[in-house]
């Protein structure tokens, strides 16, 4: 198993470097450059040229590529043009925010999706099944930005101003402005309250998909002979479903995990913007518009690494769930 992991990681190196190279050239060859942001009437072309020089953009592209690649391999991603600080620091500040959001969304999506799928399969062709099907299809077909705005409308605006609920949820940011004045537990609660809407917006759409898969997979499993055997030998229905059926129905669902990771990362772009969540998605979009090359390249690199690692984890989980699969 360890050998397998090492081999997979080694195989990922050219992949990640390839992604970084492609991104480098795409970004650098796009029209416009970071210094042009400062360009305006009254700003002399010399000043813009000087800025370009200060940013190292006066050098030919191949030279910049070699220099950048060399520095990156030593862990130096350069200095952000728009933020005037080392890219490593920028990403170190921002990446955890995205990880919190995507990890919680992933947990919520799989937790809720698996639960709904199981209930639907067990109660197949009942009213509950029908209602949940309509519900999941509703969320599955919904664009996440619209869902996000609706959640804000309901749980922030109406909950507070119109219905006067005692528990309403904040519509933006990671913490309240009074956060620093709170006790430690209040701070954790404050963070959780801010996490609910963005992670729900991301998770609901994914959960609906997971639920559909889980339902199908569950229905297949409960028709198998060994389930009939389990029932025949007098096991309680609860044990039959949870211990014997769910375990096997999970196998195809786990593969979804690997598929959903990239979706999740791209989904955060919209959600982070709507909820003013200072994360990687928003950082990348802003940096692309500002032609902040070092940040865009480092961000793409980080995303590539995360997707590679995510897929590896999904494959390993696959082996963990299905004893027939062994990685040598």
């Amino acid at each position: 198993m360890v050998g397998y992991i090492v081999r997979r990681l080694l195989a990922a190196i050219p992949l990640v470097l390839g992604v970084a190279t492609i991104v480098f050239f795409v970004v650098n060859l796009a029209p416009g450059d970071p210094a042009s942001i400062y360009s305006a009437p009254g700003v002399s072309p010399q000043a813009v040229e000087q800025m370009r020089q200060n940013m190292g953009l006066d050098r030919p592209i191949h030279e910049r590529y070699v220099r950048w690649m060399g520095a990156m391999l030593q862990g130096d991603f350069g200095i952000s043009f728009s933020r005037n600080q080392p890219v490593r620091d920028v990403i170190a500040q921002i990446l955890p925010n995205t990880l919190i959001l995507s990890a919680s969304a992933l947990l919520l999506a799989f937790g809720a999706g698996i639960l709904i799928g199981v209930v639907q399969a067990v109660r197949q062709n009942t009213f509950t099944d029908g209602a949940l099907s309509v519900g999941t299809l509703f969320f599955y077909s919904m664009p996440s930005f619209w869902l996000a705005l609706m959640l804000i409308l309901i749980f922030s605006l109406y909950a507070r101003n119109v219905w006067g609920w005692p528990l309403w949820l904040p519509a933006s940011g990671m913490v309240s402005v009074d956060h620093n004045a709170m006790g430690p537990w209040e701070q954790v609660l404050d963070r959780l309250r801010h996490l609910v809407l963005p992670s729900a917006s991301l998770a609901l759409v994914l959960a609906a998909g997971v639920a559909r898969y889980m339902r199908g997979s569950m229905l297949e499993v409960i028709r198998q002979d060994y389930i009939r055997t389990a029932r025949a030998k007098g096991l309680p229905e609860r044990t039959v479903i949870l211990k014997h059926a769910v375990r096997n129905a999970l196998i195809p669902v786990v593969t979804l995990l690997g598929l959903y990771l990239p979706v999740l990362f791209s989904g955060t772009v919209v959600i982070e913007t709507v909820f003013a969540w200072p994360g990687m998605g928003k950082l990348m979009v802003d940096s692309i518009f500002q032609r902040d090359y070092p940040v865009v390249m480092a961000g793409a690199f980080v995303f590539a690494v995360m997707v590679v690692v995510g897929n590896l984890v999904a494959d390993l989980l696959y082996a963990a769930v299905d004893p027939r699969i062994r990685y040598e």
């Binding site: 029209p31 000043a47 005037n84 933006s172 963070r191 211990k243 999970l250």
Partner: protein, 579 residues
């Protein structure tokens, strides 16, 4: 390990990761800053600021206290580093919140003392001497002196710094010869006589020499001072910056009484909320106290909310369609005038900005002392007049298809380019398209990504466009030479490419006239000339809007900016936030 067991074992681990993630972000106790992870410079400087603050007596009185939270869509790019920043929000924070300028403008846009208590311009207008206050200290306790002013000037004019607005000082004597420190609180500049010599000193905040004096100019832009640990001397002390999320500032109890004394607010927080609908929601639910530049269609919602007030105030920007007079169909000024006359700009203003703004006829804003109200009716909406002008210029519908042609049979076709994602400019382009069709001009619209658009219109050899929908923000000191002077037609911003000796002469004269009274007739003539040449179809000067929670008192905004009165904002004790 079986499947269910594996998942069961993984779940607590995942929860643990999440919990640790949350706990890892837990902030330091109240009042303390997080120094962890900051660069060495900040680790050194911030404790000095804290120690200085701790030794100061906080003011008392019923107005003192509370936190005001402002929300806007963008980061304060380059933060408090006045030597490299070109961002409006950042400049506002430098001049009104964290740092100080030598002078400020009053409501009538006349200079008034700030860091400089007085100044004199020599009779021949070649020496400008500032006498500084002696009671202003940097937030780490060091006094602000004339050496800081000289340092700021030298860095800003050093090409290696790449200060974006170096043109401020194009008529100042450059380098060490241009500035003299007469004593700790007196500094003198040497200059050529020119219009508005004081203007740069309202815009550029003075920077601390004792902290940045050793930094090579080319490295100033990357210095942590700007966004990690700025040390100012203004009414608010920097407290914390969470990238892409917020900036927070606390009161400077040391701010001189003569300048209004310490601000009323204990704390001021600037939050970045990129989505407009979220911004509005946060204002309506009182999580934000002020929201800047809500869109005109959100204005009604703000105006009808009882706890909110809608502010509308003039700003220095204007929206226009810049014509490329190098194109044969746009080379004739009569055609350009006809295009403007065929466009109902008032109607566009009402449709696009819900009336929040004023129709423009030149790039001189209505609050400028040289504004010429006499040109307001010079190019009214007049399709008949437009048709006559086009016919006179030789464009007649010869083929009967509704589009005019010249003698060679070439149709009068124009492409209007704007940047993707800007609904306002798109609306302007589309309305203009419909209205010009009425007088026989075929207009196509084209959206380009921002950087691609900028490159296309600013690359002198390229300029592959007919008309571009764009906005400029002018300075208080209006100087259109980069845009309209024929010497600059082949420079990046000479979009129009209009070559008019009369216009050139006026543009040059306006920049060297020291006396306003003498200059006023020239300003009027200049604006008349612009109307005649029509390098642009000027659309409107939009008003800026702001939504303000009524619990925050003393909020005034005008052409000077959104933060101009921040030291006077106060919140009655009963309506302050929870704690």
């Amino acid at each position: 390990m079986t499947g269910v067991e594996a998942v069961r074992r993984c779940l607590p681990a995942l929860w643990l990761v999440l919990a640790v993630g949350l706990a890892g972000c837990t902030d330091p106790p109240p009042g303390e800053r997080a120094l962890r992870g900051l660069p060495e410079f900040c680790q050194e400087v911030l404790p000095r600021v804290d120690a200085h603050l701790a030794g100061l007596q906080q003011p008392s009185g019923e107005r003192y206290g509370g936190t005001a939270v402002v929300g806007w869509v963008g980061e304060l790019v380059d933060g408090m580093n006045a030597l490299v920043s070109a961002d409006h929000g950042a400049a506002q924070h430098q001049t009104f919140v964290n740092l100080m300028t030598l002078i400020q403008f009053d409501e009538a846009l006349e200079p008034r003392p700030y860091l400089a208590r007085e100044w004199e311009l020599s009779d021949d207008a070649t020496r400008l001497t500032f006498h500084l206050r002696d009671d202003v200290r940097w937030h780490d306790g060091e006094p602000t002196t004339a050496h800081d002013v000289a340092f700021t000037y030298l860095r800003a004019t050093d090409p290696a710094t790449a200060f974006p607005n170096a043109a401020f000082w194009e008529r100042y004597v450059a380098g060490e010869e241009g500035v003299e420190v007469l004593d700790d609180h007196t500094v003198r500049f040497h200059l050529e006589p020119h219009a508005e010599p004081l203007d740069p000193w309202r815009a550029l905040a003075i920077m601390p020499r004792h902290l940045l004096g050793d930094v090579p100019p080319a490295e100033l832009g990357d210095h942590p001072f700007g966004t990690r640990c700025p040390v100012g001397n203004g009414p608010f002390v920097f407290h914390e910056h969470r990238p892409d999320a917020s900036w927070s500032f606390v009161r400077n109890p040391d701010f001189p009484e003569a300048l209004g004394g310490p601000p009323y607010l204990d704390r001021y927080v600037y939050r970045i909320v990129p989505e407009e609908i979220t911004l509005l929601t946060e204002l309506l639910t009182e999580n934000l106290d002020l929201v800047l530049t809500p869109s005109p269609d959100q204005a009604a919602r703000i105006a009808e909310a009882e706890h909110l007030e809608l502010l509308a105030f003039p700003f220095r920007s204007y929206l226009f369609v810049g014509w490329n007079a190098r194109r044969p169909q746009l080379a004739d000024a009569r055609v350009r005038r006809a295009l403007t006359r065929a466009t109902n700009r008032r109607q566009v203003l009402d449709a696009v900005l819900q009336g929040y703004g004023q129709v423009a006829n030149a790039g001189v804003p209505p609050f400028h002392w040289g504004y010429h109200s006499g040109i307001e009716d010079a190019l009214p909406y007049d399709p008949e007049g437009a048709r006559a002008l086009l016919t006179e210029a030789g464009w007649v519908d010869r083929s009967g298809d509704g589009i005019r042609q010249n003698v060679d049979g070439e149709p009068l076709e124009i492409t209007l380019t704007y940047n993707t994602g800007n609904q306002q400019r798109r609306d302007v382009a589309e309305i203009m398209q419909a209205q010009l069709r009425e007088v026989g001009v075929a207009v196509q619209t084209q959206a380009l990504e921002w950087a691609a658009l900028v490159e296309r219109v600013t690359t002198p050899g390229d300029r592959n466009f007919d008309g571009v929908v764009m906005s400029w923000v002018t300075e208080f000191k209006v100087d259109d030479r980069d845009l309209l002077h024929s010497d600059n037609a082949d420079q990046p911003y000479g979009w129009a490419g209009v070559r008019s000796p009369g216009l050139d002469a006026l543009l040059d004269t306006l920049q060297v006239m020291v006396d306003r009274e003498e200059a006023l007739p020239y300003w009027h003539r200049y604006q008349e000339r612009v109307v005649e040449e029509q390098p642009y179809t000027y659309f409107f000067f939009p008003e800026r809007l702001a939504g303000v929670n009524r619990r925050v008192q003393g909020v005034e905004m005008d052409a000077r900016g959104e933060w101009v009165s921040i030291a006077d904002w106060w919140i009655p004790a009963e309506s302050r936030r929870g704690r």
